[in-house]
Symmetry: C2
Subunit: 288 residues, 2 copies
């Protein structure tokens, strides 16, 4: 450890706005709306408000998979929420998700609109709504949900822990980087052992467990997150690599991961998605 | 910031066993079993392997609530897993939960045993199994699950983030403490705004959302976690306080929170629970 032991926390914590690293402008110690603005609404029953972070990708991949399976009722409008600009703090967004995090879904298909927030909750909602990508039998369904919930508790260590301290914090701090690197490597080893025994995360069938975990851990081992592939020696996790590549080849995954994306190659950005034709001209497999 | 900028991460991360603070002995960069040992098994269909951490309390509170509702099939054996001793790394435990975290449940009620891990998955499994504490209507069920998933993603910031750096790390580091204190205060403010409008987390009915959130945030505002009540000014969150006190008065909560508990007053410790009579002589309301 270096000489940082001089710090002693105050009796009562107070907010110093300067001390947040990247994303400091979007982090606050209070919840709720900061400005009035309505959410846009398209023609489909499913209205998604999101951005193509790993949590955002989960839902657009799920919706593209459902459409690829022939579920025409899964047609959706995906509106862009620019989290760097604070769109998630509008009155409209906060009504959809008081936690001010993307993604948020509003389902207008029934008598009254239903708000769904937290990416894991949205995957479960859609899987149950369409009877897809989540097995019916009690034991198989339970194993998928075990891993879905696992991801929701694991991702904060990967993103808010490791990713933040390794990539976004104003300066590298040894103890937090070690703490979170160790945990992320444990998570990778866990997935590697599971995927040594099974083709997919929860068994032999592709499911919402894969859709939840791939944008995070698939992105990590494919070098797409935090510039950390060498630091974490991701090549050592052969089974995770095999699984990540197989999923990356799925047409619905290739489409879903670029919806609400505002970075990377222009041919891999679809800022908003309102109909299948919106993918025309982009470098992804076109919907049938 | 203090002068800690001298640190530069290595090209490839390696494990330094000395650098972990409290709980260092239970944290590793690899997954899987370290020693052979079978799990004990009692007489009931539901076998729980746990400890009375906040995540452990969720499930024992749930089971006591189900029994209080007259669900006699919710009778259970709660076996103690001493995580400080590494019980979670036995072959038996890893078969129940490859992630080596408490709680883990095995349900022997059907033709084949079903393993359930992740505390949120266990709450959902039991709620669906018994048709209790999770509303039937699509919109009400969805709102409960929104908040259940919210907790699973929020608790790592409270426990693995704030709690670790404020209470367990070998020395206090200013930047991580500020980062996680700000997030926990945002979470508290979010809950406070929600509970200003509703008696319980997801509406007017007590649900698995309350059972998930109370051990963490109820514990925090009641001063039971991390010695952080003054630092976080928890008295400012009046609605969270009101809710936390109401739930703390529930007999099933008072019983559930002491199951698999190995600290505190002896009259508030029930190391293992195998039948209702096991609460006799302890300072909690006795089951009917």
């Amino acid at each position: 450890m270096n000489d940082s032991s001089a710090y002693q926390p105050p009796r009562v914590w107070t907010w110093d706005k300067e001390n947040g690293g990247n994303w400091a402008s979007t982090n606050r110690p209070t919840a709720g709306a900061t400005h009035p603005a309505e959410l846009p609404r398209g023609n489909h029953p499913l209205q998604l408000y999101s951005m193509a972070t790993p949590n955002g990708q989960k839902v657009t991949i799920m919706l593209e998979e459902l459409l690829a399976l022939g579920e025409t009722e899964a047609e959706y409008d995906a509106h862009l929420i620019r989290i760097g600009d604070g769109d998630q703090f509008s009155t409209g967004f906060v009504a959809a998700n008081p936690n001010s995090k993307i993604p948020a879904l509003i389902d207008y298909s029934g008598d009254t609109p239903i708000r769904v927030f937290e990416s894991g909750a949205i995957l479960l909602y859609l899987a149950d709504q369409f009877g897809q990508l989540l097995p019916q039998s009690r034991s198989e369904r339970t194993e998928v949900l075990n891993w879905l919930f696992w991801l929701q508790g694991a991702a904060p260590y990967l993103g808010g822990g490791f990713g933040h301290f390794y990539n976004y914090a104003p300066e590298p701090l040894e103890y937090p980087i070690n703490r979170f690197a160790m945990e992320v490597k444990r998570q990778l080893d866990l997935l590697d052992q599971q995927l040594a025994q099974h083709r997919f995360i929860a068994g032999e069938a592709y499911s919402i467990a894969d859709i939840a975990i791939w944008p995070w851990f698939g992105g990590l081992v494919r070098g797409a997150l935090y510039n950390a592939a060498e630091f974490l020696d991701v090549d050592a996790y052969k089974h995770v690599q095999r699984w990540a590549e197989e999923i990356a080849l799925r047409p619905a995954v290739q489409r879903g991961r670029i919806v609400n994306r505002t970075w990377g190659a222009p041919a891999e950005q679809l800022h908003e998605r309102h109909q299948a034709d919106d993918f025309k001209g982009l470098s992804v497999p076109q919907p049938r």
